[in-house]
């Protein structure tokens, strides 16, 4: 038991520490607080694990614990050295974070509630083995193949060969550290991702709102049943949500501060998103739209800095995005399944109302989302009334994601027939990918509208 615990700690600490050191190096002015360095570091860490495990077979080496420890020890040593060389700059807390706000009994109560929430999700995750459809069919199955073969076999030999490998490779990583195949403990990756994301989400809220509202915002984020389910089962959707929303949040921060490390980090997270799920590659269109929108409307940069930013964004994200698709091309892997394919026609377009009906049905389903999307609709009305259009980007992004999924749904043949066979709302699952952005919008709008309400009260 102690050995397993130590091995698991090592499996978590190695990527966490490496990611943390990478983030410290990129955020050279130390603008972000240390807990965000750790949170973002975790994301970069699991991305790095999958990248390293993906490249090891290219050198005809096989997976082993010793090899992993050697690679990560070398990386940690180099990064520590670079961090020491770069340690002149001191930690700077951005002025907008009101750190002098004292902890009240309400804060303590909310923090304890969140901790209980997370603890239940954590224990629930590791107390059930891999059992859901996607996990058994692709994710854990691939991880099991990688674990027992100690390499990545020819992609075409694997089921669902076109799917990206971030999560299966991370599960393999955990099992190699445990030393035997385990159906329970590698699922730990899910609650750790949740914890990491909660910190990032909290930070994003604190830019605008008070500590109390931010803590309530976290509970609101965790309350939909969809999120609770997907953070405990080993599906790629939750990991994609983490990478996708962090990418958007970092671009949002880049827009606010015009601090290049945020751009670099966002492109790294975009790369991880594309290596998590196929949708991650499609999201790149949205990232690029937002990126160019910021460049052209907010910054209005010189041609030189425009190209500099563009090259930076592409250089960090494109290798992963194109790399995996190129790898699939070499292995003659075709996209999609034989049952459904993308095809835009008038007949497909006529199905739009039906698809929209399914989509809305999934969103207003109380068991999946409680009242969240009704709250979102009310926030939208509040936001229209507001003078200060804070959160404008967020609302546009939510609609872009919605449009992307709608257009894919309209263009997919046999889509409705497929949806009707499923027990669980497919659109609920897809909406999860951008749900935190909508949640952040709700919190921002509520906060702004309350302030406006108070101002009106004082005037009267």
């Amino acid at each position: 038991m102690t050995t397993i615990f130590l091995n698991l700690s090592l499996a978590i600490l190695l990527p966490l520490l490496t990611g943390f050191l990478i983030i410290r190096l990129i955020d050279h002015k130390k603008i972000l607080p240390i807990y965000i360095h750790f949170s973002l570091g975790y994301g970069i860490g699991i991305g790095l694990v999958s990248f390293i495990l993906f490249t090891i077979p290219l050198f005809n080496l096989s997976f082993s614990k010793l090899l992993f420890i050697i690679i990560f020890s070398i990386l940690i040593s180099i990064l520590t050295g670079l961090n020491i060389l770069n340690s002149k700059s001191k930690h700077q807390n951005p002025s907008y974070l009101k750190n002098n706000e004292k902890l009240s009994p309400l804060h303590v109560f909310l923090i304890i509630s969140i901790l209980i929430f997370v603890l239940i999700l954590f224990i629930s995750t590791i107390s059930t083995p891999f059992n859901r459809w996607d996990t058994l069919a692709t994710i854990a199955f691939k991880a099991k193949v990688f674990y027992f073969e100690r390499t990545i076999p020819h992609l075409n030999k694997l089921p669902h060969a076109s799917y990206p490998l971030l999560l299966p490779l991370n599960l393999t990583w955990f099992n190699i550290f445990i030393g035997e195949w385990n159906d329970f403990l590698p699922k730990m990756i899910m609650p750790f991702t949740l914890i990491s994301f909660l910190f990032i989400f909290y930070y994003m809220q604190r830019i605008i709102v008070s500590r109390t509202t931010a803590l309530i915002g976290i509970i609101l984020l965790m309350s939909p049943h969809t999120l609770q389910i997907f953070s405990t089962i080993c599906y790629r959707d939750f990991i994609l949500m983490y990478f996708n929303c962090t990418t958007i949040f970092l671009l949002f921060l880049w827009k606010r501060h015009q601090y290049t490390p945020f751009l670099i980090l966002s492109s790294l997270f975009a790369a991880c998103a594309s290596f998590t799920k196929l949708e991650g590659s499609a999201f790149f269109i949205i990232y690029l739209t937002y990126f160019f929108y910021i460049q052209l409307t907010i910054f209005k940069p010189s041609i030189k800095s425009f190209f500099k930013n563009t090259i930076l964004f592409f250089c960090c994200s494109m290798p992963a995005l194109i790399g995996f698709h190129f790898f699939k091309f070499i292995h003659h892997v075709t996209e999609g399944s034989q049952k459904t394919s993308l095809q835009f026609s008038y007949q497909q377009l006529c199905a739009t109302p039906k698809i929209l009906h399914h989509y809305i049905n999934d969103l207003i389903d109380y068991q999946s989302w409680c009242f969240f999307w009704i709250i979102f609709a009310i926030s939208l009305l509040f936001w229209i009334q507001l003078q200060k259009k804070i959160g404008q980007d967020l609302i546009i992004l939510v609609f872009l994601f919605f449009l992307l999924y709608m257009s894919v749904a309209i263009g997919t043949t046999k889509n409705i027939a497929f949806i009707e066979t499923l027990e669980y709302g497919i659109y609920s699952r897809l909406t999860l990918h951008f749900f935190p952005i909508a949640c952040l919008f709700v919190i921002y709008t509520f906060h702004q509208s309350s302030i406006e309400n108070n101002q009106k009260k004082t005037i009267h």
Binding site: S113, F117, I120, L121, I123, S124, S127, T128, P129, F130, N131, W133, L136, A137, A140, F141, K144, V145, F148, E149, P153, K157, L158, P159, F184, I216, I219, L220, M222, S223, P224, H225, Q228, T232, K339, Y366, Q367, C370, F371, F372, I374, I375, I378, S379, F382, T421, L422, F446, S449, S450, N453
Partner: protein, 192 residues
């Protein structure tokens, strides 16, 4: 007087809203969450911090949150309790007694092998497809039906196959058979 009537109006609106919602959604979780949300909103109404629209908004947020917490406790805690008492019972709960068959088949195998799956099930349908993926995952690595590792397939897995026995090749022997005969695994006999 005006403030009092305003507060009464807010409370009545919320009460009607909760009654409508309670009838609309026939889930027992919502009743408790609605009560909690109503209680907190009542407190805020007395304090007179928020406007009417904000109170409705807060009420919905609170309902979502309390319902989320309630759902979590209701669904996850019994799951956790049963799993931590007996992990193997968790497998049985999730995969029924099929899990024991898979384990027994894996134990009886002499060497790891790739297998052909023979079935009468329509694997394009969701339920049989799910069963196929379960079998594929739980039998691996001893018996592989979804990933080829060896030049030849030395095993056969018969899953809900009529007259399975008549289809067993002469050079293979049964290494596991479920009591109902729905699940049979055969392996090529070694020639010494």
């Amino acid at each position: 007087m005006l403030k009092l009537s305003k507060n009464i109006f807010i409370l009545l609106t919320l009460l009607i809203l909760s009654l409508i919602l309670k009838d609309f959604f026939e889930f027992y979780t919502i009743r408790i969450s609605l009560l909690c949300a109503l209680a907190i909103t009542f407190f805020l109404t007395i304090k007179r911090i928020f406007s009417l629209r904000h109170l409705v908004f807060i009420f919905l947020i609170l309902t979502s949150i309390t319902s989320g917490i309630y759902c979590l406790f209701l669904t996850k805690t019994p799951e956790i309790r049963s799993s931590w008492k007996n992990p193997s019972a968790t497998y049985l709960r999730l995969f029924s007694n099929k899990y024991n068959f898979y384990q027994a088949a894996k134990k009886n195998i002499t060497t790891y092998c790739d297998a052909d799956l023979e079935t009468d099930l329509d694997l394009e349908q969701l339920a049989p497809m799910t069963l196929h993926r379960q079998v594929g995952f739980l039998l691996f690595p001893e018996i592989s039906i979804r990933h080829n590792r060896f030049p030849s397939k030395d095993c056969k897995v018969f899953l809900f196959k009529e007259n399975a026995k008549s289809k067993i090749p002469p050079d293979q022997k049964i290494i596991f058979k479920s009591p109902t005969g729905d699940f049979i695994v055969t392996q090529k006999e070694k020639i010494e």
